[in-house]
């Protein structure tokens, strides 16, 4: 309980601290150069539109029979990650890509990894359809589940403020305390989760949040958690909860 109070204090500190630095919470788009913003808003320049074309095809051939409305389905984008309990285990956090992969596997009868091209493409398509929706994380109602969910939140809160890696940095040191300053040749943006998957120029392709977070771990020279690990899911939940009330930007361009 003491630990929990401690984390809450730190969390509040982070939130108030960042709100002193900037009166409104800003999405990462606010930190893009005018050229990149122009590219992001113009589908004839934005490479993500190629993924959207593929996503459209996939939606028609694979998903439309069951999920009739794109916008209804896309609501999940702003609500995930959710706590999902299964018969086999007490449950775990799953994000939108896990959910798509699960659905895909059930339909095709083959297990598919959640970073397969098809899953990523579908995720981009749904993320685009969710543009402009308000982020509202879906919390479990059931008490034991809610407790486990809260445990994950607390764990992620700890990770967020924990110094790690050879650079000995925590997330909060850059993404709350150094917002707007330059890191290498890019501007540090606050850790709000408003537009994933991203097309990152240094990757030259689209990647999901797992990939982005893993890049952060490797950036501070910490041991990198594997794709889909509970640690990354917990962090995703924490970041999404932190962005609650903000508007979803859809798939975004980043350097």
């Amino acid at each position: 309980m003491k630990l929990f109070a401690f984390i809450v204090t730190i969390f509040l500190f982070c939130v108030t601290n960042s709100s002193q630095a900037q009166s409104v919470r800003q999405s990462g788009n606010a930190f893009l150069s005018p050229d990149m913003l122009r590219q992001q808003h113009d589908p004839t320049l934005n490479p993500i539109s190629l993924w959207l074309d593929q996503g459209q095809e996939l939606w028609k051939s694979q998903c439309q029979q069951c999920h009739s409305s794109v916008s209804e389905t896309a609501k999940a984008v702003v609500q995930f990650p959710i706590w999902k309990s299964t018969l086999a285990s007490s449950g775990k956090l799953i994000n939108i890509e896990d959910q798509i992969a699960d659905c895909w596997s059930k339909k095709s009868g083959k297990v598919i990894s959640n970073d397969a091209t098809e899953i990523l493409t579908m995720s981009v398509f749904l993320s685009d359809a969710a543009k402009g929706m308000t982020i509202q994380v879906r919390e479990p109602q059931d008490v034991p589940m809610k407790n486990q969910w809260q445990e994950q939140m607390n764990l992620a809160g700890q990770i967020y403020v924990r110094r790690q890696g050879r650079l000995n940095l925590s997330c909060t040191q850059c993404h709350d305390q150094q917002i707007g300053k330059n890191l290498r040749s890019d501007v540090v943006s606050p850790a709000f989760l408003t537009g994933f998957p991203i097309y990152r120029f240094s990757w030259q392709t689209v990647g999901n949040l797992d990939r982005r977070l893993r890049a952060c771990y490797s950036g501070v020279q910490a041991s990198v958690p594997s794709t889909g690990s509970p640690e990354l899911r917990a962090l995703e939940l924490f970041l999404k909860k932190r962005s609650e009330g903000m508007l979803w930007d859809g798939p975004s361009l980043r350097r």
């Binding site: 589908p43 004839t44 320049l45 490479p47 539109s49 190629l50 993924w51 074309d53 593929q54 095809e57 996939l58 051939s61 694979q62 095709s108 083959k110 091209t117 098809e118 493409t121 120029f201 030259q204 392709t205």
Partner: protein
Amino acid sequence: MATLNQHPIRLNIIGTPTVGKEVEIRVLIAHPMETGYRLGVDGNERIPKNIIDSILIKFNQEAIMIAKLGTGIAANPLISVFVEVPEKGGMVSVEWKDDQGALGRAEKMLVVA
């Protein structure tokens, strides 16, 4: 299992086509543009070179641009050319070919406003 179109292509005409004025033809192609220098996941073998080596843009069956791309061009290349709109408009078409023999094409009618 659905088969994804590996190389979707977007061909757009930017600007209002008015006779005697220029419009921009923008082509966006999904392609990894693999340089041949990167190592695979195991760290031993190089990923084979696979880049779009030529792009041909035609206007009314007449070549208006032939581009030879090199390994310095990023993935998902964006190519744009300006053409003067003739009286009757016409058909804009794009064809490309990569090192591994994959081909792609797209066409769009340019209608004079």
